[in-house]
Symmetry: C2
Subunit: 296 residues, 2 copies
């Protein structure tokens, strides 16, 4: 299969759906929608929604049926980036080659745009569109899974640990905690939700969960590696900021070469998790391999 | 009925439930849970959860059955206060007689505590407890209603308009927009969700929605009035801050006396909305009257 072509096609579908789910606004809060859309359409790779669709297809479902859940995950990912970039957090001025939300709209509006995106994600999952595709029981399960992955026992916990670990000595247990919570939790939710909405059985969901955890962790390691080795221009942001901020990362703790070994092992394990699936899981397999090769 | 007694009893039930739903945490993100609990147990009146329970009882349901939804509304209200108090927003150091979250935990943790509370609210609504009481379809409806009321077309829109109106001339349409979105939307969601979980019929839900809108608006007007006329000590924060910040409020726009007239009218209309209910709606009626008399 041609992964590049696959990613381009799926990204188009996700972008169109996002534009439909969050159209331009009017009235006294029009700037809010503008700020939400600014970050939502700032060049994201749409990895989480694409993984969600690919998982639905792997279990024999239709990719398009998961769009509300898939796009909800992108809203949540986007909110987390906006809040992460705020001066009180990572204080980043640039992301994907563009000024961050608070540089364009000010801190108050950036904060509220993040709040709006997060809240809308849950409304979107509960919209008529998904209720037509799956039973209400499954919708409730998706909300619950996504909220758990994104919340104070998942992504937000990872962000807290990440911030608190800055400039302090970190051991592998802490770096693992940060990475599995900050990144892998939401990526795992993406593939599990795709499996649920696609109609997957229990063993399929379990396999997807295992795949998600490993791919999610591998993805965060490549993020760490790109911050050390990556090209600032390709990344659209200043690299090397993790070292400057004293972030707890794999390369900082274990070195580049050992980090790459671990990452390679995770990708192999992720692909092995998919053994029970046929060729319809090929996109998931290729995405796992792509994580090692990506340049941005 | 004895409203004071009713409020004390219900508050106890809500406080116990909140403590059960969000217990102390451990591990690398223990501070996050500490920050979430700090604001959650900082002396809130629990108006939204109590309204939610009272509405369930008004339609003949059990107050306790709505606790997950009722407490979810309190989590959302609490998150909104934490974010509202941040330096980038209203920059308030004190609330309810205690230092605000960012004064105690720093801005990053306060921000993330808010994010955690908001996200957990949706997980809580989808927990087993509520699924045992009502069908999954109704759970989906509750998530959807709450997300819409709290999100970028509801509370967050109101906060944006509120911030943007600071120091600028505002007309009544704008002040109405701010108040109905910032405050009345979530209060309306509280009573409507109570009605749904309590098993109310369509006309009952419609009556509760009308009650919620009017009570919510009246409540925000009393907030505005207390900022002008209230006692700093009783309020636990410095009063007069709306005027200093040039906030768009009823008293600022229409004066104290006209604001009180409008508020009185709203409370009367709110109570009239409840005509179809029997004495089981008395707590809702009394709460509406209490809004005018409250001193904090």
């Amino acid at each position: 299969m041609d992964l590049k072509q696959y990613l381009v096609e799926k990204k188009k579908i996700v972008d169109r759906a996002l534009d439909r789910y969050l159209p331009e606004g009017a009235g006294p809060a029009a700037d809010l929608v503008k700020a939400m859309r600014y970050s939502l359409f700032a060049g994201g790779k749409r990895l989480r929604p694409i993984l969600c669709m690919a998982s639905a297809e792997a279990v024999g479902g239709h990719g398009a049926s998961v769009l509300p859940a898939a796009c909800a995950l992108e809203l949540i990912h986007t909110y987390s980036l906006i809040h992460d970039d705020l001066p009180a957090m990572d204080d980043d001025d640039m992301r994907r080659g563009q000024p961050t939300s608070h540089k364009v709209f000010g801190e108050a509006l950036a904060l509220l745009a993040g709040d709006g995106l997060l809240t809308e994600a849950f409304r979107l999952i509960c919209s008529e569109e998904l209720l037509k595709a799956i039973p209400a029981e499954s919708v409730v399960k998706v909300v619950s899974l996504v909220a758990e992955a994104a919340g104070y026992k998942g992504m937000v916990a990872g962000q807290v640990a990440d911030i608190q670990a800055e400039g302090r000595p970190a051991d592998k247990a802490l770096v693992d905690f940060i990475h599995t919570h900050k990144t892998a939790a939401l990526i795992t939710a993406a593939v599990v939700c795709g499996g649920i909405v696609g109609g997957g059985g229990e063993s399929q969901i379990a396999a997807l969960r295992s795949y998600g955890r490993k791919v999610g962790l591998a993805f965060q390691i490549s993020d760490d590696l790109l911050d050390v080795e990556g090209d600032s221009e390709a990344m659209g942001k200043t690299t090397g900021s993790d070292i400057r901020k004293g972030k707890a990362t794999y390369p900082a703790l274990l070195g580049i070469s050992r980090s790459k070994e671990i990452q390679k092992g995770l990708v192999e394990e992720a692909i092995a998790s998919l053994d029970i699936f046929d060729e319809r899981a090929d996109p998931l397999r290729e995405i796992a391999r792509y994580i090692i090769e990506r340049k941005k």
